[in-house]
């Protein structure tokens, strides 16, 4: 191996992120595996694209930890909009409350489980935030698909009375990410607290 490559280093932030996303018992071995592959194979063959490869590998760890929760959060939002479209009601407060608690509970649980497994508050907060981000994308895609199917005046009126399109495409996704960060951190703090007590 070229000695220049043996000292090549991946982006520091990506290495730090990887370590956050691993259990303490795996931090050395897994980050070492990626560094070895990066220096021996990826840098010599891909050159400037090596850092992109490394970031993609790190993203795969983050994706695995958060995509399931993201789908749960996004589906909850889509189901809510589906109900509002197909079964409109005069008072949406019960549905809004149920959805809020589902999202708060989902984000906190995602943060708790990730922090418990990785023994890191940052891992919990990051996993829940990423799950919320995925959930936002899922909900935007789902709601756009619903709009493509149902866009008659009566349905659009029903949507307006339940919050409107701005809420569906902007307010809710932004709020979801904020809740993900806040409740994920809260869940992660609970996990660390529980680990200390137990």
């Amino acid at each position: 191996m070229n000695s220049v490559h043996s000292h090549a280093t991946p982006p520091r932030w990506a290495e730090a992120l990887l370590r956050v996303l691993l259990k303490p018992s795996d931090r050395e071995s897994v980050s070492g595996d990626l560094l070895e592959e990066y220096r021996e194979v990826v840098v010599p063959t891909r050159g400037a694209g090596a850092d992109r490869w490394y970031v993609r590998q790190v993203s795969s760890f983050l994706w695995r930890a958060s995509w399931g929760w993201g789908v749960v959060l996004g589906s909850a939002l889509v189901i809510r909009y589906l109900l509002d479209t197909l079964i409109p009601v005069t008072d949406y407060s019960i549905r809004a409350t149920a959805l809020s608690w589902t999202i708060i509970g989902g984000c906190a649980t995602a943060g708790f489980i990730a922090a418990w497994r990785m023994q890191s508050i940052s891992a919990g907060a990051l996993t829940a935030f990423t799950a919320a981000l995925i959930g936002a994308v899922v909900s935007i895609a789902g709601i756009a698909a619903m709009l493509a199917v149902w866009h008659d005046p009566a349905t659009l009126d029903a949507w307006r009375s339940s919050g409107g399109l701005d809420e569906a495409f902007i307010d809710v996704p932004v709020k979801l990410m904020a809740i993900g960060a806040a409740m994920g951190t809260a869940g992660a703090l609970c996990a660390r607290g529980a680990a200390v007590v137990l």
Partner: protein
Amino acid sequence: MADVLGAFEQAVLLEVLRLGDQAYGRAIFQAVQSRLERDLAAGAVHATLERLERKGLVCSRLGPGNSVRGGRARRYYRVQPAGIRALDAARRTLENIWRGVKWSVTKARTV
């Protein structure tokens, strides 16, 4: 009863078996990639090894690292007897599925 293995789990477990004493994370990642002839995410192989270890099909130990990996330890894996039984069961299942099929699937599709 032996565990039911998915196709990717079988691929990982078989590479651990083939690599023998040299079965550590990166070597397994490379071997599976080469066997399946596609780019893989390291996270997928790591998650599978973790799952196989949780099921008791492989065990692992830490070994020394080298300068290329910044001195970081290597985790070496070894297939356990339960892993061999699970591979056997997976192979028997596949053979049962294919038993009696005497023609090529490509030909059968065009009939």
